[in-house]
Amino acid sequence: MRRIWDTPGGVHPPDNKAQSLTSGIGQLPLPEKLILPLTQHVGGAAKVCVSVGEKVLKGQKLASASASISAAIHAPSSGWITAIEERAVAHPSGMSAPCIEITCDGEDRWIECMGYPDYKQATPLQLRNLIADAGVAGLGGAGFPSAAKLDRGTHMPVDTLIINATECEPYITADDILIRERADQIIQGIEIISHLLGTPKTILIGIENNKPEAIAALNQQCQGTGIEVVSFPTKYPSGGEKQLIYILTGKEVPSGQLPADLGMVCLNSGTAFAIKRAVIDGEPLISRITTLTGEACDINRNYEILIGTPVSHLLEQNAFNPDLCSRLIMGGPMMGFSLTSSDVPLVKTSTCILAPSHTEIPDGDPAQACIRCGLCAEACPASLLPQQLYWYARADDHERLQAHNLFDCIECGACSYVCPSNIPLVQYYRSSKGDIVNARTAKATAAVARERFEFRQVRLEKADTVRETKREARRLATEQAKITSPTTTQSSGSSAADIIKAAQLRGSTRQASPEQQKAKLERTLMAAEMRLKEAQQRLLQATTNGSADQQTQQLASVEAAKRKVEQTAQRLTEVSH
């Protein structure tokens, strides 16, 4: 028996898994339209490689990975591309995002698939490319592109591969049913991953002990493979990647680092299945298992849904009663987010659609005062002090929030779950995290702006000096010319005496025509005064609605104009006397 480490905190909500496990994986009739968001994963949006009006086959690539962390998207069924535009997508904010719409032709005709059953002959790079081409992203809910996770790059060698079959969220049974029915393919997937990673020493499947049938199926399939099935007591959130790693190995992923830094890779069991499909069958990720559950639907079960199926289609097929439904949740009751509309499509990360009745998940009571009872701190799996974070979040005390490691919060919701005062703690933390990130960005932008401004000042000063030197040089040159031109007989080699003589001469010429000089100076003065007025107006404008940069610039030109006026006025008085 492998030793199991117990994580701090955790809660035991009613698991509500039985209702969706009464029947096996079901299939839905083909929807009329499929909507495929370009971002269904962590990382860059996929780049569209089809155009509106084009006919596509099932499994055909519609958009390719745009960056090293991105995932391709394929047609889940055959049909025509009828739109590439912004559509409402499943997101906590209810936002829209670019999507490809396919109108299905009903034939569901496959493109030719090139499987690679003899994967042991392939190099890790080839396998990774196969997985990347198939658009596989973490199916546990996070949606991290699998090829990127399996890219060893400069990391240390992987000695532990962990398959996450914990499924600790209440209600969700997608992994459970997939393991029960297709454990053999999951194990094949794990073997592919193991081969790709250079056969890690330890391969573990972590699963909570509330899934005895799945555990039995895995144990049967794992015999003789060296893969170890480890079951441990059910406690939410044991399925968090960091929590699972601790439970199975007793090691903690250092804050701000990745499991890879410990020589570990952690993948969901559903992802292992998708990798098997991608490599051995050559089928891209176009479907997944999604649990439909909740008392507002007559039928509760798991479906193998096509990616892009509208939630409304899934609900309609299962006698959904909107009047009974208190809210519509994508994901589980602990970390899932509410959907404002059922028109949004199911995506690669949609583990569950939960349509609870009003008695099942009633509307929350208003929040009462926090009495720092500490139930939240006892429930926190990361050993944070949620009650303190709450007070600091309300006070916008970013420094204290960070000192209390706000960013190590995994937003599992255990604190809010136990809070007797019904305070939406996680909401406070999310909002504060956003604020802190924004403040950091603003600070960084301001630093760049300041640097640029300072650099500009230095550049302007330098330019001024250069201009000044040039002017001085020109003046000297003119003087030289004046001296040399009337007395051409003299040699060009001018001595100090020559310069003095020239200056005296210039003085005498100036004295010779004071009237002319005065008139000229008066004109200059007038022009300078006008320029000053204009500059002042510009400064006024800049101070009311210009940037700091513009203001300083205008201020400088006003100063320059003023100087010019003063100088001219002074010279004028000198000449007049």
Binding site: Y246, M334, C373, A403, V418, R430
Partner: protein
């Protein structure tokens, strides 16, 4: 169609703050019963007056603050403060003493700081200390336990008690007397053994002081029930009692005339158990982390002993708790737990940001 937008988590455990407070009230029942048996109607009258004053004062302030009155009264926190205060004040104390202490607790110590959750000091203890400092005579007059009453004397009945409390009638001679801690403090120059022999408060007792020992046991029982119901953790109360026991063992001095008393007397006299399980565990004014609560509880235990042994007050739970409340934010600064993935714990005022 449109659905409601709600932030996760969507599920909630069913225990509310009001329910927690009600459980705390329930857990004071054994103590209240024993105290009432030992000291008569006085404590029930105290609790009644305190509860009415507390609810009225809370409602008035909530109205002034434009807060929904019913919503906030339903958290039962004012009732808890009132009951704890009523248990701590001497039985048969004049009604105005109870009213002053309660109103001060609710208005000054709680609502002026922003109401439940925002008060830095335990409201009941603030009210108690205000009464103790302002009205020392009334506050140190206790009723004699029932078993020590002279043969021809009995505790006043309900009507008689009401007359004493509201009309200021004087109780019959022999009904009031010293508490064990009081008596011990004022028996200078005697060996512990002599004090125990000379006074029926000790000589007739099973292990600490007549009347008080069983009241303390009853509060211990109530407290353990709350501990079992996971209303609070063991850290603060156990640290307080442990420190109190440890200190009284260290300074026991073989029962000499200088000895401040035995561990059993300290643990089962005065407000030791009431304090440990119902006052020190007040989460609002205590330290927040488990480690912090250990230090906080130990500090209060230490202070209780120091004041009892070498201070001028016979009991000290209220003062010790208030001093502990003062120290709580400081303790919190150094006792932030180690977060997952961090090598060591940080300080609450840490400036360095972790990315």
């Amino acid at each position: 169609m449109a659905f409601k937008q709600v932030s996760s988590p969507h599920s909630h455990a069913r225990q509310s703050t009001g329910q927690i407070m009600q459980l705390v009230l329930l857990a004071t029942l054994p103590g209240l019963l024993v105290l009432s048996y030992q000291f008569g109607w006085g404590l029930l009258i105290n609790i009644l007056i305190a509860t009415i004053s507390a609810i009225s004062a809370e409602a008035l302030i909530l109205k002034l603050r434009n807060r929904p009155i019913e919503f906030y009264l339903r958290d039962y926190s004012a009732v808890v403060t009132a009951v704890l205060l009523g248990l701590a004040l001497p039985p048969l104390a004049p009604w105005w003493l109870v009213v002053v202490a309660t109103v001060f607790s609710i208005v000054i110590a709680k609502q002026l700081y922003g109401g439940l959750g925002s008060n830095p000091f335990n409201p009941a203890m603030v009210g108690y200390v205000v009464a103790l400092i302002s009205f020392p005579i009334e506050m140190t007059t206790w009723v004699t336990p029932v078993s020590l009453l002279a043969a021809d004397v009995s505790h006043p009945g309900l009507l008689e008690s009401l007359a004493i409390v509201f009309a200021g009638n004087s109780p019959v001679d022999g009904v009031t007397g010293a508490t064990p801690l009081d008596l011990f403090k004022h028996s200078d120059g005697l060996l512990v053994e002599q004090i125990y022999q000379n006074n029926s408060l000790f000589s007739a007792a099973s292990f600490a002081g007549v009347g008080w020992e069983w009241a303390n046991v009853a509060f211990l029982v109530g407290g353990l029930a709350l501990l079992k119901a996971r209303i609070f953790t063991w850290h603060a109360p156990m640290a307080m009692l442990g420190t109190l026991a440890l200190m009284s063992m260290l300074f026991w001095d073989g029962g000499s005339s200088n000895s401040p008393g035995s561990p059993l007397m300290h643990l089962f006299s005065g407000a030791s158990m009431l304090g440990a399980f119902f006052i020190v565990t007040d989460p609002v004014s205590s330290a927040v982390s488990n480690r912090g609560r250990l230090i906080y509880g130990a500090l209060i235990g230490l202070l209780v002993y120091v004041i009892r042994a070498w201070g001028s007050y016979p009991d000290a739970v209220a003062f010790a708790v208030l001093l502990g409340n003062f120290a709580a934010p400081f303790i919190d600064n150094y006792t932030v737990p180690r977060t997952y993935g961090h090598g060591q714990s940080r300080r609450a005022t840490d400036k360095e940001t972790s990315e």
